[in-house]
Amino acid sequence: MHDFLSLLPLVIITTGAILLMLLSAFESTKVEIASYISMGFYGVAFFVQLLIGCGPETTIFSETFNGMLVANNFSMAACLVILGCGFFTAISSHSYFKVNRFCTLEYYSIMMFSVCGMMLLTLTHELISAFIAIEIMSLAIYILVGYERKNVKATEAILKYLILGAFAGAFYTMGAALIYGGVGSTKFVEIAATLNIDKTISPLLLGGGFFIIVALLFKIAAFPFHSWVIDVYDGASAPITGFMATALKTAAFALFANFLALHTTMHDGWVTFLFYLAVFTMFGGNLIAIGQDNIKRMLAASGIVHSGYLLIALVAMNAEQFSGSVIAYYLAAYAIGTLGIFASLSYLGGEGEKRANFADFKGLAKVHPYSAAAITVFLLSMAGIPPTAGFMGKFYVITSAFSAGHIALAVLGIISSILSMWYYLRLIVNMYFHEATDTFEVQGRPLATAGTFVLVFFVFAIALYPVVV
């Protein structure tokens, strides 16, 4: 019965999604109600996930699902992060749609669908089901990105994301095909088995793995495949951007880690590539971020940089006994920071996100001192200043890199975080060291403020009590 338990959160979310979809058929239901319902479902799922915890690694319904789904600590942690992202995105959307009124009930339902896609992605240990999960997630997110139909920017964003995403998806399928050709199955266990037999990676397997990794690199916006992320984040509405930046990246990295961890030979085969990719991703992201004036674009670029750090963690991870704790912790820390900033943006951005640039936030500290303080905390966490979660994450990643012997990589990571200091401080400087030019009117008491402060609490909580590792 444990199998079903470990699947329960996924089930809950799915039912929630369907339920909302049905509800939206009725005129009378308000959008707020929908948001509360989705929050409720996220919350319940979150606590269920937390309660069931996870014992040893279990293959869920190995007969029924033919060993596609495997639940372990890592997947649980990733699911928790994703559910948290869903919860706080719902909160920030709630406040966001108070000022920007283009929301319908389906919005929350679709978001929940994407969340089930992601959770499935963390569980799956098989290529085709992974593809399905990716597509569930992606299709939902495509819709969310372009949700504001009137807005040409959103439309352009969805266009770009759709084309490139589908392009990457095609690579993924080709890769899956090649691996199937090489192994005769797409299950990770089978692949591992073949790798156990003949120690070298056969050309088919190599090419297949290559294509799959390319697709995953696209999803996590690693260096050569990063260009979409900036425009899409810019075009999408703030809560969705936050959602993509956090939940999607978590899911993608979960799959990435599982794929690399399926066998040591697989991991070692790609380490060199990932090494260079990590370096390029970090520095490329930094260089892009420096030039940006729009905060969302800056955050997108900084997201690229953080993908670079996560790639370091992937390089340094040990495929033999893979725990993924470092990656999970870093993802959680990064997610908290990013969600927090986007939550604040969602109620400070104003109608049609008229405050989008650094300059628009001059003197925020004078008007909304607490929000400014919260944003500062999040930025410092992303910059990795102690005693925030971001610092701890960075500390674990660098430590793992050192103890795996990738000293050069670790040092480069440190250097890139020196570079990243400037654009994080830039917003703080704007908020604190200038006089207020704007009134920063905020309607009512947005729920997102509460969410923001909860997140601030988490930033320090998981830093000072690093339970995960």
Binding site: L159, K160, I163, L164, F167, A168, F171, P203, L206, F210, V214, F218, F223, P224, F225, S227, W228, I230, D231, T272, F273, G284, L287, I288, A289, I290, G291, Q292, L419, W422
Partner: protein, 637 residues
Amino acid sequence: MEQTANYLGLIPLLPLTGALVIGLLHMLTCTKKPLPEKLYSVLACIGPLLSFFMALVVLFQLKNMAPEDRFLSHIPFTWFAVGELHVDMGFLADPLSSLMLVFVTFIGSLIHIYSIGYMAGEENYGKYFAYLNLFLGAMLILVLGNGPVVMFVGWEGVGLCSYLLISFYTKDTDNVLAGNKAFIVNRIGDLGFVLGMSFLFWAIGSTGFDFLSLRENAHLLTPGIGFAICLLLFVGACGKSAQIPLYVWLPDAMAGPTPVSALIHAATMVTAGVYMVARFSFIYSHFPSAGTIIAWVGILTALLAAIFGMFQKDIKKILAYSTVSQLGYMFAGVGVAAYSAGIFHVFTHAFFKALLFLGAGSVIYALHHQQNIWKMGGLKAKMPITYATMLIGALALSGCPPFSGFFSKDEILFMALANGHPGIWFIGVLVAGMTAYYTFRMMFLVFHGEARDKQAYDQAHEPPAVMTVPLIILAAGAALVGVFNLPGIFGGSMSVSNWLAPSLVEHHPHVSIWLEIMAIAASIAAVVIGITIAYKKFGHGAEEPEFTGFAKLGYHKFYVDEIYNAAIIQPYKAIGSLISRFFEPNVTDLHVKFSTWLYTKSGKAFKVFQVGYVRIYAIYMVIGLSVMSFFLSQSIN
């Protein structure tokens, strides 16, 4: 061997307390209605007088002990101790320091009393006496310090006080500049002292860093390091005692009140260098070559200063250069290992030079701060006491028998000759003549002839008793203290030298009586010649001449100050501004500037790649893909 005397610490402490009390009173009241001068005067004189009496006590206690263990010490507490370094805040009274002690406190007290009259009605009356007491305290620490480090405390303390007192009239920038000059030049010397101390410690100090233990270990010094220590310490002495090349501050120091010049810049502080060399005689006696250098520096300083002295018009400047010149003598003395002779000259010089300065002070006082000797004249009638006392001082200074200066100076010259330095002796005699000349030039111009400035002359009058009495006492001293060290040839027994013997390391050469007589005759002849020339030129009044040629050069002190200014001070400032204007922003900060520039530029550059055409993004992907696959194919085969 040494006994303890637990009151030694009090001797410097008394004036220091006086300084503290007076200073606080003055600091708290000076902006409001100032306190009565009587109060300050009383408070100021208590400390010095008490310490004078205690000094006498010390002297007599030492006298009652066997000569070879005449050492009294008092160690209140350990000052600081780190590793092998152990420095006590300790005081040592031996014959040498007791002698210094007595005359420093004696003259100090006299000058305090004199100042009561001289400073009457000045603003910052209290501040003056606070500084004066502070100085006396520091000087006594210098004298009594039982080790180099404690000595250095007094050493820097007196430097500070001389700075404060030189720039006493702070409203006038020149005075403050003179003060700064004094302090900075002294600091240059102090650097030498500190380095010397440090080397000394690492060489032989680790078993105890006070004079007595150092004296026992002195034989451990290796030649190289010992020589270096000697010279470094002498650099310190040069700074404090105004020897070449660091003498330049002393003439400017005359900017301070005249009693200060008398006490600090004639009698006591400036002789600290000589005292220090004598203190370290146990080292210097091991390195006669270093001594020779000192002797030559000293005698050349004497010569140079004498030349300058001959052409000055400011009465205090003349005395200042005479001081430098006499200090030169003293160093010549200690340089040729005649430490007792040098110290004895310090002793006598204190009397007659203090006397001359105080006399000059009362002249200046009488003429309302007129210092130019070409505006004086004929004052003999107006102020007889001053004249008489100053005449004694002048005779003593120019070293004509039987006044004190004769014996001390003659002893030095004789020792120079006896220890085989005829060159030094010859220059010494020459300088003696020049000294006599400029001293009496001053005397004649000031007191003889007829008044050059009539209405100043009419107002001139003898100063009050509080100023004349010290003059008379000092005059008596200047006339008579010579007898303390009468050489055998005059039926004396060199009692001062014998007194000092336990704390000095020196040997008395035995040379023929004729040589001694010859030396004495020579110096007397020089003095007589000098005085007669002065009398010929100025005895009956003379008009101020136009300085030309060498005289002009001498009057402008060979332009040494200007040279220093051009060669050292201006470049120093130039370097400073160069650094802060040019180097700081453009060179040292370059790495910051460059990296920020590169950073922002590359940020701009990377925006270009975000063209916004989805096709191009796809092309990026394909390019990345192909590059990666290329490397992949490389890695396979």
